[in-house]
Symmetry: C2
Amino acid sequence: MTGNARAKRAKVARWSILASLLLAGQLAEAKGETPERRWTLEDIVTAPKITSLALSSDGSELAYIQMAGDIEKNQTMHIVYRLDLSTGQRTEMVRSGVAMQLEAIEGERAWNVLLDIGEGQQLYRVDAGSEPQIVLASEASITIGETEGGLFAISFIAPHRVGVLAYDWSPDRKWLWYAALKPGSDEPKVQFDNEVVVQKQRRRAPVSAVVELRLRSASGEDMLVATRPASDRLAFHYAGTVSWADDGLRYYVETTYGTQSDKSEAFDLKFNSMTSIPAGEQQGLSSVDFVKGPRGGLLTTDGYGSALELVETGADGKRHSYGKHPFYLGDPRAAGSWRSVDGKRTILGMRTTAHPRYGLVLVSSAGPRTILTLGSLTRCDFRYDLEWGICVEEAMNQPPRLVKVEPSSGKITAIASVSKRHEAISPLRVTSHRWINRSGHNATGFIVWPREFEQGRRYPSILVTHGSDADERFADQDLQWDYPVQLWAERGYVVILVNEPSPRQSPELMAGYAQWSTGSGPLSPIEVQRRAWLNVVETFEDVTTQLVNEGIVDGARVGIAGYSRGSQITNVAITQSRHFKVASSGDGHFLEPTIYPISIRSYGAIFGGPPSGPYLENYLRISPSLRAGAVCAPVIQQLAAAHAGAIDFHVALRAAGVPAQISLYPGETTATEETHLFHIPSNRLLAMRENLAWFDFWLRGQKDLNAPFPEHLDQWAKMADGFGQRCGLKAENPQDASAIR
Amino acid sequence: MTGNARAKRAKVARWSILASLLLAGQLAEAKGETPERRWTLEDIVTAPKITSLALSSDGSELAYIQMAGDIEKNQTMHIVYRLDLSTGQRTEMVRSGVAMQLEAIEGERAWNVLLDIGEGQQLYRVDAGSEPQIVLASEASITIGETEGGLFAISFIAPHRVGVLAYDWSPDRKWLWYAALKPGSDEPKVQFDNEVVVQKQRRRAPVSAVVELRLRSASGEDMLVATRPASDRLAFHYAGTVSWADDGLRYYVETTYGTQSDKSEAFDLKFNSMTSIPAGEQQGLSSVDFVKGPRGGLLTTDGYGSALELVETGADGKRHSYGKHPFYLGDPRAAGSWRSVDGKRTILGMRTTAHPRYGLVLVSSAGPRTILTLGSLTRCDFRYDLEWGICVEEAMNQPPRLVKVEPSSGKITAIASVSKRHEAISPLRVTSHRWINRSGHNATGFIVWPREFEQGRRYPSILVTHGSDADERFADQDLQWDYPVQLWAERGYVVILVNEPSPRQSPELMAGYAQWSTGSGPLSPIEVQRRAWLNVVETFEDVTTQLVNEGIVDGARVGIAGYSRGSQITNVAITQSRHFKVASSGDGHFLEPTIYPISIRSYGAIFGGPPSGPYLENYLRISPSLRAGAVCAPVIQQLAAAHAGAIDFHVALRAAGVPAQISLYPGETTATEETHLFHIPSNRLLAMRENLAWFDFWLRGQKDLNAPFPEHLDQWAKMADGFGQRCGLKAENPQDASAIR
């Protein structure tokens, strides 16, 4: 045993004591404050999310980025904290609208991170002692975001100027590889056919930008290696994903012909010549994300069902099985992956198939070892030797906290809370479930129980859904968006957070989802619709029916809410079934005929072609606006932008006499839009209050005194007149009647 | 007879001599140049349009605004000329991207005019001797036009900043009333329901602006009278249409509740108190356009048919008839109106019902006197006593020229040509026609004959249509847009310029059009569709069939082209009939389901409601994209903006295997759009060349060596493969077959 290893162990010993001290103090504080501190909307908006963490090179300090709504500033802020692991002292190093790609600097107690603190997004160095220092700046003339003159990119932060998109140091730190965003040519020209078609929903002028892949030497020489279109996702998001060698590097770019190609191309660059030599093209973009196992092969989880096979596949195609396990690899919400320097051990983030949460798996020649807590381990950083690491642990009713993870033993020790405010909330009861639908498919999820739940009483209930985001994370916006899940439970709703049946459970389901995604496959459009939408709606009907049968839920007072994918399901649910009595549909308009031109590939699978001629009947089967006459649930649509299909649905609902409201939440200016996941705290608060008032009105017949737009209550009452009656009776229009299942 | 009157007569005598000298010289010059100077595309783009003219206060000089494409500058320019009526000398006073509201200054040989010569649109004074002098400037912080950050307003010029929108001097010139455009409040806020619905097709951030109605006194005091929303059309376009009294004024604004109301409201303002007192609300916006006759009543033309009744209606409702005449009043393309100071005589611009052209009618106690030439009198200005005036005379084959008009005698004398270049073109043969369709409705129009037309040979033919714009104007963009009518005739096409059947000919047709416009009425959607669209298509079928029957046109080679309203008719024609073999559809997308949210009122009449539920079948009857399977004509769509409905039609055509192309012409920058009537000369030239190549390819089977995008010729050939065959056969899809009439 080397002195170095001893030192580490000693440190570990100190850890445990410190950790229990820290945690005990916080718990006491939380308990002492008020015995029954209930959830507030402000708690949801300020719920912290740790997006990244990095141990200092010597393991003595941890830096992490914490994102949360700042109600006073009315912004979503990223704060970079530093935690001294020996003293437990936490200090704020910097706060910024953007903070990403946090990486420890070798040999120092300092980090590199991309920040925007006034000069646009640039590369900084942060440490305990000083102001952030700029390491690399590139003129930030392009703004990214949903604003006039901005370059559109999927982003959930306020529009901001960007100089440096991403960076990568060579292992010896002699070379700095980076991607810079630069203006492209914007000579106006005549455009034709598909160049025009894709503009159907364009709401802003196109902004021309290119990504420059550049290399800076130790002596400060700065070389342009390649100029890529901004549509090259590998260049834009990952600076072309570099792998380093001693004499040069290999970088990967997406092969683009103006559109996304799903193909990538490698180039080799030698430091002595500085020219890029093509090194082959390949299908897919994820080449660099593959993770090597102890045998040098790539680790994946394969197969279908609740346990998947963990496989290591060698370059020769030989497969080594580590057996079947109830988790899968590759989920972007899971922690990353780490490989020991000697290559003998790999740690990978994974997600469990039942009771959905995120854990780790250590793979060594001894086989896999699963590391799980009651909640999730969502973000981690490990020492180079994988002896220990720090992770974020969180759960539905556990705010994020930092824990120490020792992979060999599986030991997990709490280190530090990150939010006293949220620790102080008296947790709601949350239970994990697995439901089976009428076709035998299972769906996972949770019930958040009313705080004063009494067995034997029937409760109004709201089902919240968003793909597979019902998992053990804390008040996460990915699932609950602007649905005030915890407040509903406080108000006496049974809140059902449910995932759609995972396509991983059966090849049949997977085939439907795959065809939707790729646009091609053997299934008919009707079959794709059935597997990827109608089956989900049936599942949710069955989940709530079970709770009604168990005497928990009042079947006459069941609502549904979902944004994005959840909005698809919500819209399909109410246009196919009378099971749900009221709906809140967030920022979605998929399946609507009007967006065919921007959804050609997937609509090919779902409908066969555009909404005309022989394909029209496939739209009539499932497009929400074409089935508005079948709706018996009032619908509120909360939008971040004036989506064309959402407008069509609203108009059709109104024409069909269905109580309906659209609320469009604004961006920072009238020339800026809110983001799909709202990033403006005041909008989140208003939208949640609107949902509280909406469901109280339609499910409990109550006018919420705290309704954010009180004048709407009377409008809802007016729209309600006669509507319930109409839906209680048989549909008068035979066309509508046939639409009801 | 006073000395003053003698002086005027004497001047007139000089006139005639001068005029014949000027004109003779030009004709000689034109004839001498080349005996057979043919039309070029550049001739079309540079064809002058006189938008306004104004005699100086003493009648010795004329100022006029001439608009034309400037190919070298690649801009549409407005040049303000001054013509010395005694010497015939013409001088350019100023050129500007904008020039409007040209008015003589009382007592001077000078004019006021709104110009943008660097400071945004402001009020200037121009005269023979000096540079334009600024009279009134208001900070021009708002840009009007189709550009990012610009305020949308229907406009056919490049985006430009505006300070002064409009102005009006009091008769004694002591007061200057004007409208200034100012930034409004643009606090972002949550928007609901219809506020969101109308944004379905919004392509730019809304720009908040208000119109300030202001009054400036002789001493320079500047007072804000009222602040109006930019949506108030009376305020925005007419500065609130003032009528002056000695002690104050009355102004009119549109009653707005965020949307167009078609109601106006009057306010009285006394100079001594400077407060606005409401003076009543009324239906309609045109109150100030009514023209008084010799009995003090309002002059209108009433009834239906080819002759309409000229009526003067007194304030007491009593009607005095001046008999039936083959013209109507109130056409915005006709010359304006003038009333003698003594009120005994009124001159009004009118349009004839047969052989469509614009003339004048002098109404006095002696009855009406019609003033007509072979072509049109499109713009005029008359002396206060109506003894004489100057008009623009033009015709299909006569470039605009200035003529003197003496209303009492009806004498018309040519004064000056305005474009030697266009006088030099050897005129094409143009004949005027009136066709009767199968239902007995008549349609007027023209044939532009191939220059080397031979009786007995059958010619390929192109029908060009745009509402009622086929009339005696010279190469006017209103009708021919970017369809190179004259070049087609030069290339050997029989070009048919045809108006749709005027709804003025029958109450039945008018009812259909009125319901379309107002959104309400007794007709079923099917009947509205029949009267306002299908009847037009039948008419155009019948027109061309007659020419085929006369042995002039080859029925297998008939194409159709139209923009805007013409694009509607073109799209309906090819989706309802196989009569037309190829189509060019310009910048239109009306009748498409996708634009329901921005066409709710008219779509209510045409379809009954939104494209869902019981209304969907009405869309299936006539929406072009829903009938793409019936199309047997290749379709090019030339666009000034990426209109959603045009894209849907293109996509549906392609999916149905119909050869189809979209060409989107750009604005000055990638953040700016071309205007509905293209204003960028290079775009006009390219679009016309594209149309030449398109029709030559599909009607004559020729690959145009001058095609502007030669790579498209092969694409067209590829799309043509098998297409003709398919359309020669019975439709394979029964749904499509039923669609063919």
